[in-house]
Structure formats: C-alpha cells, structure tokens
C-alpha cells in the first residue's frame, strides 16, 4: 500500500489548470534527497526524462501516392538517394530502415541520413522498379520528392530507448570497430550509451506508468509507445519500447543520420517519456541518482554473444570521464548526448507546463516478467578445435630455406609455423615467403619468416577466424594455447570446406 495515491486523470486536471508541478529527472534527484519520496510524491506531479542516442532499430513508413501510369514497387525494388528501402508492401508503400546503406556511397550514407534529409525538407531521389501487371503496367520510375509530397511519413521503430546499456572495452591487441564505436587495444578506452539519470525506462523500472498508448516526446514531435520493444528484457533491467510518431512534425535537431566508423549507418533519436508521479514508489525510482544506476563493462574483444563482464560500474563513474579497468585508469566516452537528453527533458517539461502536452493512460502496461531469448540455431557453433588440422608440421628458425621448400612441397602445405627449442611459436613461413626469397642472398628461415604472427585459439568460433583471415588478407593461422604452443593449424581451405558443408 502506498500513502500517496494520484491518478493520471487528476494530474491532467492540474496540467489543464496550470497547477501541475513538473520537474526533470535531474531535478527530482535533489527533491527526493531533500524531502524523501512520500513528500516528493505529494508535491511533484510529473517527472520528465530524455535520451538522445543512436538507435539502430529505427525507421519510417512512407507512402508516395500513385504515378500515372501506375507502378507497383511491391515485389520490385525501391531506392531513396540510392539507399535500398523495403519493397515488400503494396504498390507505393515502403519502410526505410536506419541501417540500410547506400549502394553508391556505402557506409557514408544510409537510411538514417535519408530520414534526416526528409525531416530537413531536402529533396530525395526516389528510384524504383516494378515487374508490371495489368493494373500496374509501369516498370520503372525516377523522380524527386520531399516530405511534403508524401501522403504519410511515419517514424515507426521496433526498438528504442534501452532502459540501460552495457559499456564496452576491448581486450584485444588491435583496434576494433563496433556499434559501440572505435575500441582501442588493450582496454585503451571505454564507451557507453544511455542517458543515466535522465534515461526514461530507468525512472519507472517496473513500468507502472508506461505502456501501450503512452504519449512521448519523439524526434521533436509527439509520439506514442505502441508496444514493448523487441528484445524487451525486463527481468535483467533491459526493457525497450516500440514507438511511432508523425515524421512530418519532427525536427532535424532530434533525428540525425550517422555513420559509425567501419560498422555501419544508424539514426540518432531524441526521445523523452513523462513519468506521472502517482505514488511514493514511483517518486523513489524517478529520483534515483547516477550512483544508484548500474551497468556492466563488457569485453567486446570477445566476438561471442555472451561477452565476458569486466566489472560493474555506475553511470556516475562513467560520467566522470575515467574508470579503473585492468589495473589502470581508462578514458570513457559517452555515445549519446547528455546535453540533448537534458534539453529534451526540459522541452517536455515546458510543453506540459504550458498545457500543450497531456499525459495518456496506458491501455496496457509493458510486460515486466518476459525474457529475451537467443536465436535458435540449427547447428552448434563450430569451434576452431573441431575444424583445425591437428598434425602440424613445424620448422625451426635455423632451417635452410631449401629444406623448408622441400617440406612444403612434399606435404602439399602452404604454412610452416616456426617454433623455438621449447616448442613455442616464434614465427611463420609461407610458400609465398619462400617463392619470393628465390634469387636473393637469404638462406635461413629466420631471414624470411614473419615474427608478428596472427594466431587463433582452439575455443574460438570458426566464423571469427574467417573474419581475421579476411581482415589481414592471410590464408591460414597457427592455433596456439595460452603458452603459445602450437596445437594445430587452420587454413582458409579448412574453413571453405566447412562453409560448403553448411550450404548443403
């Protein structure tokens, strides 16, 4: 039971009469600290939140109207500024998703940029193809449109505004490029997303006031929550929402196309949810400060679904710009803009204070007990140890080149890992190294071998090693244990054999 009991209707009455007390989630922290949650619940009617970050599961439905003679894009192809849009709806409807990439400019321009350009009122080239029917005879069209020319432009995203998100670091010896941005080698930096103290779902973590039909700030206009977000995972504090709103009302300041370097394109979305303070329980959670909001730092250097947790961390620590990791102080970057999150919470506050924005009674609360499951995979993830060649022929640095050439030829192999007297890997020689040494004065393997060897481990997934080979343009890697002893060798041939089997 709660001491304070208010209803959304009562709060709306107060908004209409101009009496409602509206504060941002940042301001609420102070109020709850000073007055306690019961008093805060009595005094405050609404707490506004805000977040501004890259949300890849974003996109928009567009309707172009019919051409003359009419064309049916459904079953054909649609491009907006060369970015492929979905052509699996009726004649002239489409869905443009944030991560779709330009066929001419690649990652530099994507669906997120198309949405931003539309909102900016810029011209967008529409190119499409149909297969021609008796009722839709036309096969091709190219035209220029602006958002004004569209019948409907509806921002509609299946997953936005994660309750909180994991921070990222990288244990590998090389820079990696992820959706969490560039991660420097050997825990060189940490990145995190989520607005912390202003984060919408964090402020009502059991979704007492949030659900289907909740009116929100979306991209600078008004929008609605229409469902739980995909991958909604409330039990682990990782709730999400699916949102919808009229793109024509939105502002480019709060919807920005972006390129995450060597990862892909996305859309930065500004979103804010008003939390009606119906009782002291909600006042309490709406007043949580950043030392109380925790997340984990994960090792993105491990390319698996379940990445190792490096440590627990509070948003307050992340916000400070530096955290302790692996025994050193590491610089931290937010990925979302706290400045804009704050601006959104303030804007929403003003809208409500001016009586322009009323709260809505959710038709159904978001589920608070469902779980997010992993993909069901038909085959077990093959690991290096399942595919590698275990009988490895190794060489020594002082072998004459001619002898190594003979070994490679006779055994019909391309890679010769070089080990020291204790069996530890110190280099590798390929048939290419040997071929290019012919005619030079070199005669020992130590003179031609590569000493900075790229290796694999037995328990790594084969797909990861396939990417390593591609990235470094090499055709095989020695498999080593933690003591650098050679346990096997994995070549692109072994991998293609496996992939060939997969396709059957």
């Amino acid at each position: 039971m709660t001491e304070v009991k208010k209803t959304i209707e009562y709060i709306n009455e107060r908004i209409r009469s101009g009496d409602a007390v509206v504060v941002t989630a940042e301001e609420m922290v102070q109020i709850v600290k000073e007055k306690g949650s019961v008093k805060a619940a009595r005094e405050v009617d609404v707490v506004t939140t805000g977040t501004f970050g890259a949300m890849c599961s974003s996109g928009a439905f567009l309707n172009f109207g019919h051409s003359d003679p009419p064309i049916k894009f459904g079953g054909g192809e649609i491009y907006l500024n060369d970015v492929p849009a979905y052509a699996g709806l009726a004649a002239v409807d489409t869905y443009i998703g944030a991560t779709s990439m330009s066929v001419s400019r690649g990652m530099e321009y994507g669906g997120g940029h198309v949405i931003e350009d539309l909102v900016r009122g810029r011209e967008v080239v529409l190119r499409g193809r149909g297969y021609s029917t008796d009722c839709y005879p036309r096969k091709e069209i190219e035209t220029v449109i602006t958002i004004e020319d569209l019948n409907q432009a509806i921002l509609c995203s299946p997953r936005n505004a994660y309750q909180r998100y994991r921070a990222a670091a990288n244990s590998r010896d090389e820079t990696i490029y992820t959706y969490m941005g560039m991660l420097l080698p050997n825990f060189g930096n940490v990145t995190f997303s989520g607005a912390g103290v202003l984060s919408p779902l964090t402020k009502d973590p059991t979704y007492e006031t949030i659900g289907i039909g909740t009116r929100i700030f979306l991209g600078g206009g008004k929008g609605y929550i229409f469902w739980e977000g995909t991958q909604h995972d409330p039990k682990r504090g990782l709730g999400t929402i699916a949102v919808v709103g009229d793109l024509k009302q939105m502002k480019p300041r709060y919807l920005r196309g972006c390129t995450i370097h060597r990862y892909g394109t996305s859309l930065y979305v500004g979103l804010g949810v008003p939390i009606p303070i119906l009782n002291e329980r909600i006042a309490q959670s709406a007043g949580l400060d950043e030392t109380q909001i925790k997340t984990e730092v994960l090792d993105y250097g491990v390319p698996r679904r379940d990445r190792p947790v490096l440590r627990e961390v509070s948003y307050a620590e992340l916000r400070s710009g530096e955290i302790e990791l692996a025994g050193k102080s590491v610089p931290v970057s937010p990925l979302g803009s706290f400045k804009l999150a704050r601006e959104i919470a303030l804007t929403l506050k003003e809208w409500i204070e001016r009586g322009e924005f009323l709260l809505s009674q959710p038709l159904q609360r978001l589920p608070s007990d469902s779980v997010c499951r992993p993909m069901k995979q038909a085959e077990v993830t093959p690991l290096v140890r399942d595919v590698m060649t275990k009988e490895v022929i190794t060489g020594r640095a002082d072998y004459p080149i001619a002898e190594a050439a003979k070994i490679l030829r006779e055994k019909n192999i391309d890679h010769l890992p070089i080990v020291d007297e204790k069996g530890k890997l110190i280099g590798i020689v390929t048939s290419w190294d040997i071929a290019t040494s012919i005619g030079t004065k070199k005669n020992r393997l130590s003179e031609v071998m590569t000493t900075r060897v790229i290796t694999a481990h037995e328990d790594e997934p084969v797909d990861f090693v396939a990417r390593t080979l591609e990235k470094h343009k090499i055709s095989g890697v020695p498999v080593v244990n933690s003591g650098m002893e050679v346990k096997g060798i994995l070549t692109s041939e072994d991998i293609s054999r496996l992939l060939g089997r997969r396709k059957k």
Partner: protein, 134 residues
C-alpha cells in the same frame, strides 16, 4: 616555440630516408604527428621546438633533398553546426584535447591537438575535420 612542418614526398622521393637524414644533420628532436606514405609518395606532419632562424635552416635542409616542405597551421576543425555534443570522440584522443565542459558541450583545445585524426572517424556525424591552411 612549437612549430609544425608539413612535408610532401613525390613518388621518387618516397623511398629515401629524408626525414632521418634531416634529423641527423640538424640534431632536431622531432615528433611525428601524422604520416601517410606509400610507393606513390605521401605526407608527414612533424612538430618540434625551433626559433625563426632554426626554422629557415631546417626548411632549407628539406628543400635541398628535393621534397616540398612548408610550415603549416594544419589543425583540426570542429563544426559546431554538426556537432551534437555526444562525446564519442573524447576517449580516443591521445592528448586529451577533447572534453565535455560543465554544461556537457564539447570543447576542443587546439593547443593540445596533434592532428592525429583519430577523432575524425569516431565522430558519427563528421563534425570533426582536418583543415589544411596550407
């Protein structure tokens, strides 16, 4: 005074150890800020402490070896119109030239910037650019 010098190599000169020999002849302590050299030539940006007179001597040494060289004020430029103050660029900067201030706006300290360009690719909206006031 800290000076920055930009050296452009032609394809014939790319293989010669020009920088190394200038360092040897002048006894200069050089910091390489940026280097991008392939068989087709390329560019190097270095910085060092030098007076006006020393600067002339060093530029002459480079010119004698047949490369294009000039003092540059090449800097990183922040486009305030594009930047939305996310802060993604901060943690990749090796010299802490980027930071968020009290009201969470991005600040670029040009004094500290070495023009390494790492932040350029981290920025999701291309608000950071190398400008070459050559």
């Amino acid at each position: 005074m800290k000076r920055k010098v930009f050296i452009r190599y032609s394809s014939q000169k790319a293989e010669e150890p020009i920088l190394a020999s200038v360092i040897k002849e002048s006894g200069l302590l050089v910091n390489i800020l940026y280097a991008n050299i392939t068989g087709k030539g390329g560019e190097i940006l270095i910085s060092f402490d030098a007076s006006e007179a020393e600067m002339d001597r060093i530029l002459t040494l480079f010119r004698e070896k047949g490369v294009e060289v000039w003092e540059t004020e090449r800097t990183i430029e922040l486009d305030r119109e594009l930047c939305f103050d996310c802060g993604a660029c901060i943690s990749v900067c090796p010299t802490k030239a980027l930071r968020l201030n009290q009201d969470f706006s991005l600040e670029l300290n040009e004094e500290k910037c070495i023009c390494c360009e790492v932040c350029v690719s981290m920025c999701p909206v291309r608000a950071l650019r190398i400008s070459s006031k050559l």
